[in-house]
Amino acid sequence: MADRVASMSVTSFGVADEVSDDLGEPKARSDRPSRNLKRILPVVSVLVVLGLWQLIGSRINPILLSTPTSTISAFGHMISRGQLIPAFFTAMEDLWVGFGLAIVVGIATGVLMGRSEVAEKILDPYINFFQATPLIALVPLVVIWFGVGFEARVAVTFVLAVWSVIINTFVGVRSTPSALIDVASIYKLSRWEVVSKITLPNAVPYIFAGLRIALGKALIGMLIAEMEVSVTGLGGLVTNYGNSFQTAYLLAGVFTASVVGVIGVILLNLVKRRFFPWVGATTSEQQVRF
């Protein structure tokens, strides 16, 4: 449940964002009324669903569905009890330490594999193995190794997220146009300069795409770890309120987890826009011959 909600929140937000990213501007200059309609349609849709939820929820057993209004008041209670804010920060910490490690280790490993065929051949079997393995099954092993504290939650988050970062970085490095590698040879760039000035920048768009996927997985890892390993943070709240059938509180926890995901996506986009404004720009040119 938690993982579905978490990934949904990330992707649904991501999709809307991707569209505006890729097209730059609204594609067709459609006429005004229909454009306005398109703009308010999502809002109308959400309002209608909330209304239906309220209507149906107030008629059936609150354990099954609860209602928007009681979810909001549960939200308020959890804040005033001093429960939600600490849980939110625990979740943020688990997520960003695990995800941060995955970013650093993933990019470093991906670059190594991208630049060295030997490293690629050595690491390839493991990448394939872990990519294909449902890593959630490793959670008990993580507990044996790291216990049930912060380290274990970070480990689960990391292990879920790191593979997408490695693979995307690797592909990005390998996709460097051979002409740019030639440029590096002609101007005698050192090995490190080839990475820092050419192959790593070339991989940046791929890396961000990988980070988007990895963030979704890290979010799942973080919540699973909080639910199954430590029973703490937002995952812990959701588990506990689920066990005591307090559905409104459970849902308030779930929506807060969505907020954690949305913040992550926004942060990634901010970093991309601020530091890598050239991502998405093209320099393709055609050759003319006789």
Binding site: A179, D182, V183, E193, K197, W278, T282, T283, E285, Q287
Partner: protein, 271 residues
């Protein structure tokens, strides 16, 4: 006479092309390039022009004969060469200024930071890119991108300048303007230049000698001398019947090959 800067003797190259076996890209290619000389290589697509140029730049190996630059056999990228690539090959994530400065990587230790800066600024001035120092490559026109590629190749003041169809992607008007700029720049820096092109007029306008190549296997057909003083003024140059004569000669050599090829394929079709 001074020793040649580039000596090509009996160079051969074959590529292994998977199932179809070995493909002879170059066979027994020999010629010299004198100091400060401007040489054009012209010939049909696939005759090995890029391959040859890449060999001079140490980017491709050769498997017969020898290539010497300034007296020493080419192994790896020679010092003090500039290379302008077929497509500009700029770093999309670096500004114009940084892209040009990349050309100074090899001489980093030698130049002070302020020398480096004034060199890049001078190149920007020379190639008419002033005001675009901080632009990214995709914000420039194709012609400007090529000029950045040219500036990057020139900034370290190479004694050998290798150019692979640097103007190939441009419209006729921009092309002519850049030809003139190029002639002026090369004259000033006195670089020994090898210039690959598909354009006969361009080759005649710029070169001291034109190497006409043939295809399959790639080899030198003929070397045509263009015995006219520089700087050349285009309007007078074009009107000169002696120039027209040389132009026709080169054109005949290029098209002769194309035509003979066409007729062989035709007969092949019939049988």
């Amino acid at each position: 006479m001074e020793a040649p800067v580039i000596e090509v003797s009996h160079v051969g190259k074959r590529f292994w092309q998977g199932k179809s076996g070995a493909f002879i890209a170059l066979k027994d290619v020999s010629f010299n390039v004198g100091k400060g000389e401007f040489i054009s290589i012209i010939g049909a697509s696939g005759c090995g022009k890029t391959t040859l140029l890449r060999m001079f730049g140490g980017l491709t190996t050769y498997d017969a004969g020898s290539i010497k630059i300034r007296g020493s056999v080419v192994r790896g990228v020679p010092d003090r060469i500039g290379f302008v690539f077929q497509a500009a090959a700029l770093l999309p994530w670096r500004s114009v200024w940084d892209n040009i400065a990349l050309g100074l990587t090899a001489v980093k230790g030698v130049l002070s930071e302020s020398e480096k800066r004034s060199r890049v600024d001078a190149q920007i001035e020379l190639t008419g890119l002033k005001g675009f120092e901080q632009s990214l490559p995709h914000q420039l026109s194709g012609g400007m991108q090529q000029r950045v590629g040219l500036a990057r190749a020139l900034v370290a003041e190479p004694s050998v300048l290798l150019m692979d169809e640097p103007l190939g992607a441009l419209d006729a008007f921009t092309r002519m303007r850049l030809q003139e700029e190029l002639a002026a720049i090369v004259a000033r820096t006195e670089a020994t230049t090898v210039f690959v092109t598909h354009d006969v007029d361009e080759a005649v306008f710029l070169s001291d000698r034109i190497i006409v190549m043939e295809r399959a296997p790639g080899r030198v057909n003929q070397i045509v001398t263009v015995p006219f003083d520089k700087p050349r003024v285009r309007r007078e140059f074009i009107g000169d019947p002696k120039v027209a004569h040389i132009r026709d000669e080169v054109l005949a050599l290029v098209t002769e090959e194309l035509l003979s090829r066409a007729s062989t394929t035709e007969t092949a079709f019939r049988t």
